[in-house]
């Protein structure tokens, strides 16, 4: 929802980033305020997943220019774990599997680490067990999720639910959901989207990174941005996603390239 006079959570200006000397992000500007849902759409290779990882602090990417302000902090000064403490959360497109570590052990460790960093109360194993089971109802998850190794042998849908469960536990100020809908059937998609919608409120914000419009039927964005060749080339309201669906990405890409020529 767009809230008037809402505080800015994220301000990205002129962001350039490269990996192994190859520039992927070529000047991104984006402002996200409390209460808002932003969708970043684009073809494979447009740089949208890179943008998500750069926000979370992946060390493989080098920031060559630009700035990122997160609440009152310079995000680029913070290592990944401090970004998490500050309230940033990335739901991974491909969550990693960690055989040998029980999911509940991992979830409690993450939860208590974040809680203590924010000066809040940690939970002992019994208290946490009650707490996490309540959150799992939100996502229609079976209790045996907790005893299995982190993401090991999880289906695509189960992995995504586990990501949203972490989002529900860690209560981030800003969530970035990278290709949340990939590998999900329609029922799983509805469940996951419903979970995200329940976590959203007027004080937090979400960035949905997605290739397809489908997800946006269930999580309705306030803004839609189209990325191409490392930049946001078009921004509009939720109707832009539908227009993309009917006219295709070529329409935006041609449009942006002709504008480029004019400005050049």
């Amino acid at each position: 929802m767009i809230v008037s006079n809402s505080k800015t959570i994220l301000a990205v200006q002129g962001l350039h980033a490269s990996i192994n000397g190859k520039e992927i992000l070529k000047g991104i500007d984006l402002t996200v305020k409390r209460g808002e849902i932003h969708a970043i759409m684009g073809l494979n290779g447009s740089g949208k997943s890179t943008f998500a990882k750069v926000l979370a602090g992946h060390s493989a990417y080098e920031i060559t220019a630009g700035s990122i302000q997160f609440e009152n902090k310079n995000l680029l000064d913070l290592p990944p774990e401090e970004r998490a403490h500050a309230g940033l959360f990335l739901a991974f497109q491909y969550p990693v599997e960690i055989p040998g570590v029980a999911n509940i052990q991992f979830l409690r460790l993450a939860y208590n680490t974040i809680q203590s960093q924010r000066g809040k109360e940690e939970l002992d194993p019994l208290e946490f067990d009650d707490f996490v089971r309540e959150k799992m109802k939100l996502l229609n998850m079976k209790p045996d999720f907790l005893d299995r190794s982190v993401n090991e042998g999880f289906s695509g849908g189960e992995k995504k639910r586990n990501e949203i469960l972490q989002m529900a536990l860690l209560e981030p100020r800003l969530s970035i959901l990278d290709e949340m809908d990939s590998g999900l059937d329609i029922d799983a998609l509805k469940t996951v989207a419903n979970g995200v919608n329940q976590i959203m409120n007027k004080d937090n914000a979400t960035i949905l990174v997605t290739h397809y419009q489908r997800l946006l039927d269930y999580i309705v964005p306030d803004f839609v941005h189209v990325m191409h060749a490392g930049r946001i080339v078009l921004t509009g309201g939720k109707e832009l996603a539908l227009e993309l669906e009917t006219r295709g990405y070529d329409w935006v890409i041609n449009h942006s390239e002709s504008t480029n020529k004019v400005t050049a």
Binding site: S59, V96, L109, A110, I114
Partner: protein, 430 residues
Amino acid sequence: MVINTDYLERSLESWPFTNTKPSSWLNQLRANAIDQASMLRLPTKRDEEWRFTDISALTHLPFRPSQPENIIHIGDVEHLFLKEAKIRLVFIDGYFSSSLSIFDPTSLTVGNLPMFLSSNSAYLESHLGRLAKYEDNVFTALNTAFLSDAAVVSIPKNAAVRDPIHLLFIATQNEVTSYPRCLLVCEEGSNITLVEEYIAHNNAKYITNSVSEFFLAPHANVKHIRIQRENLEAFHLANCAVSLDRASQYQSISISTGARISRYNQNVFLNDEAAECTIDGLTMISNQQLADTHSCIDHIKPHGTSYQQHKCIVNEKAHAVFNGRIVVRPHAQQTNSSQSSRNLLLSKTAQVNTKPQLEIFANDVKCAHGATVGQLDEEELFYLESRGLSPATARSLLTYAFGAEIINRIPVTSLRQRLEHAILTQESKS
């Protein structure tokens, strides 16, 4: 000052048994072993079996045999005891300590060598030294030559010992060699869990030269957990030989975290049909430690099964070696065998040599093997860090996860928790 006499020569000179009761079979065994030792030499890196493991440092040590002298107070070592173990045999520098041990002296199923010698010498004679061959192994030869005490566990037919038996070998004396020895005889259908553990009481510099012999009669079931956590000054040289009779089951979990230089040879003979073994190992070393595990699983008769998984976690400048030999003899048809060696290097200077060695002479068998060497995965670390975990915690958790697969198989809860703690603090040291 004597120069250039090597470790072996000095060991031979200190052999004490020449004039005592030469008629007994045990003295004959010791005499044969010392004769054999004098014909062998210490292995060097030129020997194929020792090409990655340099023990030349050992040759310069003026170590004498340990003495049965050291008194240890129970308060100093009781933290090493396992609360699950109702039977515990403690050996200090290779010598039995009855005050630290718990067992029932009226039943002669568990005890030390002198007790068994006085009451059941013939039984001992038919087992001791029969499995651990000293003809071509200088360390087994020396251990046998200096054999004066041993942990003896004999489980009667169809007996199921519910609680684990703890054999605890504690090193205390400086600049000595101790010769721990274990003999386990499991009669038909018996079932036990045995924990064999080597540890140092202080920072003494010493050599442990241990030999273990396990006999499994038909349908016997043995779980053998071996823990080597000597101090970082120690040399640990160990040989274990296991004989499996028809349809017996042997599950072995060996954890090696200690010693400056360690070498563990484990030879398992599937001597009759349908025998089954699971041989798991975890080596976790740092600093300048060297830990070498050589195993041989010998399928001699048909329908045998062996599963082996060996993992190494190597940090700093440490060096791990794994050589896993699997032999399938011509008559061992329908053998099913698998082996996996997985290795985690935690620093740029850590090193591992892994060598699967399959020798298959039967044509109707299923044998699989594989080896991997890797580092902690950057994407996995990033995932954990993105959830708020510090890089040190993330590394420690992933290292723990790697080792947990082996540790989780240990059926003794307090021991498992002790090791989990050790593994979690291992990574945060660096």
